[in-house]
């Protein structure tokens, strides 16, 4: 019954899903046979409708999935949800579960949600909620914060988790000898004092998102790591071979380059959800997308994290599988080097953005699993404003802007010139196929308005020194990255940091600096949302980046795996509630 709900719907609604593919094909063909203007304009109405239809079909599909999940929830009693092994596959291995050094998404999530506990936990809008700390009080002056810890959380070796562990964790992450990847989480935290076993008090400064660092940094066991010299913590085998945590799952074994195996922790306190449903949880590295897809179909694995959009379409057509997605903190962009002509002219940058068909790019690269990006804040963040629209795709206005900026057609080669210099630039990217596709579309779009793009490909490790070194010998590059909840983008824009590696564009604005600084110190959420809007509009006016698209993380799972409620907090945020329908257990 549960199955038929989805199947019926798919029969009715799925076919329309393939139409945008044709649109893409037409678009690409247009590129090959000269200026795609004709193809673009005649089908503009159709294409908007097709994209809209695709997105609607996707929304309807996701609704059907949710309905089926809640039906399963209602029909299977809670006690029957326990049992089974859940196998999740991702592209990368988890290299270490040492919270002090691990930086990648999978590692950080396994620390925060699977193996360890955090002091607080983020709610859906990244508001801090009680977790290991059952509550906290802030002194009236706002400079001291006192956490009261739960007394029923134990390390997996039986030792209770205490205030000393919290103090120890903080002392280590802020220690300069420890290469903790984001010390800025704790730069407003100045001193710690253990009042008793369950009470710990910190001295703090005013800061927005003050508690966020505590929601992503796992508490470390002092009784195990306390004696390890500080400079050896990063290389200590604790994280790679024998991690002891305090979370809902315990470590069982690791096969390097292949998998991590965890088992349910029966002693996890009921107040935090109790024993998780699954008996075992496995994370496997499967590098090749096709192999992961095959493993999902044969039932070797139960879920693929971050599936490729192209395979997502195929997988969703399989009646035994379900594909869902959630907004991730990742977006992609073209960064313009405003230290160079012609990118020093804001009108040129704006013209380039207007001339690039970002909707087509988002569809080609992400299918239904992404959206055009309007600025540095995407749908994943609670300050995101759905009313805030990106610049339209408008080649005619782009042409007008370029004319006005002095870039005109001086001869018949189809490339604009100014003072004898043609409007031509190199666009760098890494060799990922998605970037090649984007570069091709950008090249075709800009050729239409008389701009010549020369795509250049560099492997990531080679591209980074090119764009970060002080001489900045590049015109523009394509990149995608993930941002963090505090939205501390001062390294990208601040006027006093133009020589810092991440200040790719060289564009800065004193007013923006003031906004970005305030964003890091205001405590109330309303002001923060207002400042974020201001940040977006200042960047949109100047277009130092052309924002391309926001990414949704795709989860493809077997239908019998239930309870996977993922959002921007990450795939594993709900891991303790995942359960397998009895007939889907292996």
């Amino acid at each position: 019954m549960v199955a038929s709900a989805i199947d019926t719907w798919r029969d009715a609604g799925r076919p329309s899903f393939t139409r945008p593919l044709l649109l893409v094909a037409a678009f690409m063909a247009g590129c090959d046979s000269g200026p795609p203007r004709g193809a673009g304009t005649t089908s503009a109405g159709d294409s908007v409708a097709a994209v809209e239809a695709e997105l609607q079909a996707e929304r309807a599909y996701q609704d059907a999935v949710r309905a089926s999940d809640s039906l399963a929830h209602a029909s299977v009693a809670q006690r029957d949800r326990f049992g089974g092994t859940i196998v999740v596959a991702g592209r990368n291995d988890i290299q270490t579960l040492n919270p002090l050094v691990a930086t990648d998404m999978e590692s950080v999530q396994h620390q925060a949600y699977v193996l360890f506990t955090t002091l607080v936990r983020s709610g859906p809008d990244f508001e801090p909620l009680p977790w290991l700390a059952r509550d906290w009080t802030i002194d009236p002056e706002g400079d001291r914060i006192t956490f009261h810890l739960r007394d029923d959380v134990y390390w997996h070796d039986g030792v209770p988790v205490t205030a000393a562990d919290v103090a120890f964790t903080w002392e280590r992450v802020v220690d300069p000898a420890v290469p903790f990847f984001n010390p800025s989480y704790f730069d407003a935290w100045e001193a710690v004092e253990v009042l008793d076993e369950r009470t710990v008090r910190f001295t703090v400064r005013q800061r927005s998102n003050l508690l966020y660092g505590w929601a992503v940094t796992a508490i470390l066991p002092e009784h195990i790591l306390g004696e390890v010299p500080v400079d050896q913590l990063a290389t200590h085998p604790f994280g790679t071979s024998s991690p002891i945590g305090s979370g809902p799952f315990r470590f069982v074994e690791r096969v390097p380059g292949d998998r991590w195996v965890f088992e349910a922790n029966p002693d996890f306190p009921d107040g935090l959800g109790g024993r998780p449903y699954a008996d075992r949880l496995v994370y496997r590295q499967i590098t090749e997308d096709a192999a992961a897809e095959a493993a999902l179909r044969t039932g070797e694995i139960d879920m693929i994290v971050d599936a490729d959009p192209a395979s997502a379409r195929r997988l969703a057509a399989d009646s035994g599988l379900v594909v869902t997605s959630y907004p991730s903190a990742e977006y992609s962009l073209i960064a313009w080097n405003t230290r160079r002509e012609p990118f020093d002219d804001p009108d040129v940058r704006k013209a380039l953005t207007l001339a690039i068909d970002r909707e087509s790019i988002a569809r080609v690269v992400r299918g239904a699993y992404g959206s055009v990006s309007a600025g540095p804040v995407g749908p994943w963040h609670w300050t995101w404003d759905p009313e805030w629209k990106p610049l339209p795709y408008d080649p005619d206005s782009a042409a007008v802007l370029l004319d006005r900026a002095g870039w005109t057609y001086a001869d018949s080669d189809g490339i604009r010139e100014k003072a004898g210099r043609p409007l031509r630039f190199e666009l760098y990217s890494t060799p990922r196929q998605a970037w090649q596709d984007v570069a091709t579309i950008v090249q075709a779009n800009l050729a239409e308005v008389g701009v010549e793009v020369q795509p250049r490909v560099r492997e990531q490790a080679a591209l980074i020194p090119l764009v970060t070194s002080p001489d900045r010998r590049f015109d523009a590059f394509l990149v995608g990255w993930s941002r963090d909840v505090p939205l501390d983008d001062r390294d990208l824009w601040a006027c006093d940091r133009v020589d810092d590696p991440m200040h790719f564009t060289g564009w800065c604005l004193p007013e923006l600096d003031a906004v970005l600084d305030s964003m890091q110190v205001v405590a109330d959420r309303e002001s923060l949302a207002r400042l974020t809007r201001r940040y977006e509009s200042l960047v949109a006016d100047a277009q130092p980046y052309t924002f391309l698209f926001n990414v949704e993380t795709i989860l493809a799972r077997r239908k019998g795996l239930r309870g996977v409620e993922a959002d921007a907090r990450g795939t594993w945020a709900s891991v303790a509630d995942w359960w397998l329908e009895p007939e889907w257990r292996r």
Binding site: A234, A295, D500
Partner: protein, 326 residues
Amino acid sequence: METLIRYVGSRLLQAIPLLIGVVTLIFLILHLAPGDPTAIWFNPGIPPEVLDRMRESMGLDRPLHEQYLYWLKSFLIGDFGYSYSQFRPVSEVIGDALPNTLLLGGVSLLVIFGIGITVGVWQAARRHTAADPALTFVSLFLYSMPGFWLGLMLILAASTWLSWVGLPVSGMTSIEHSQFGLFGRFADVAGHLVLPTIALGLGSAAGIARYVRGEMLEVLGQDYVRTARAKGLPERTVILRHALRNALLPVVSLLGLYLPLLFGGALVIEVVFSWPGMGRLMYDAVLARDYPLVLAASFLFAVLVIAGNLLADILYAAVDPRVRHA
């Protein structure tokens, strides 16, 4: 025998400067390539001071010749260093991965030469039947097929119309592996070996088959084969005892040449099948600019290649008296 030992000894001595040359070259190429290990932490929000501190802790702030001498010295005393992308000592990382690659490579080698020689001999013995051109077609087809593509097709087949066989498509062991008995574990790994071995070995086996067939046809035309037949020996003895032994001489030297090819091929096949071996390790290590890991792994590859060549030469001397006595 004594000459053989002296021969092997001198070859081993020659190998030492060769190995030092190889690793020095790789050291230089690695450091000349743009980028450094901190590239994997590329994300706005990581303060430049943190990256500088990481570079410092890896010794990357020192002049190149100092890094080289330091590295060479620790290398000579058997300290391969620390892998910054894996957060473990290099020796440990390689100790986990190398046996897996040797297993896959070894089994593939058996398959390559087992199938290749059998098919080649069989074809040569049935030269004037329809089976010969048919097999020629098949082996040329397989020989021309890239291993990674064959691998993807095998994965496709195993997950669709061959899914009833239940062959695993990725990894080396099942999740329940540690709960199996000895035989169960063996069967588990054997099952996981099937597809990667076919992908890695089939093309090469086809190549060997072509080669053996050619050699056999040449040998079968020799006077001593006619003599053997004239003596009234059964055809089976003629082919297996008299012709095959002579036809195999050049094939033996191929053995050494196939070793590096096998590891090169393993790099791709391991990625396709998520086989936790050296090929995949090295691929990731190069992208992450994990210098110590790349250097140690390439050193091992160089050792394997040199050992393979040496092995081929020794085998050649063992089977061919002319070489032994020269």
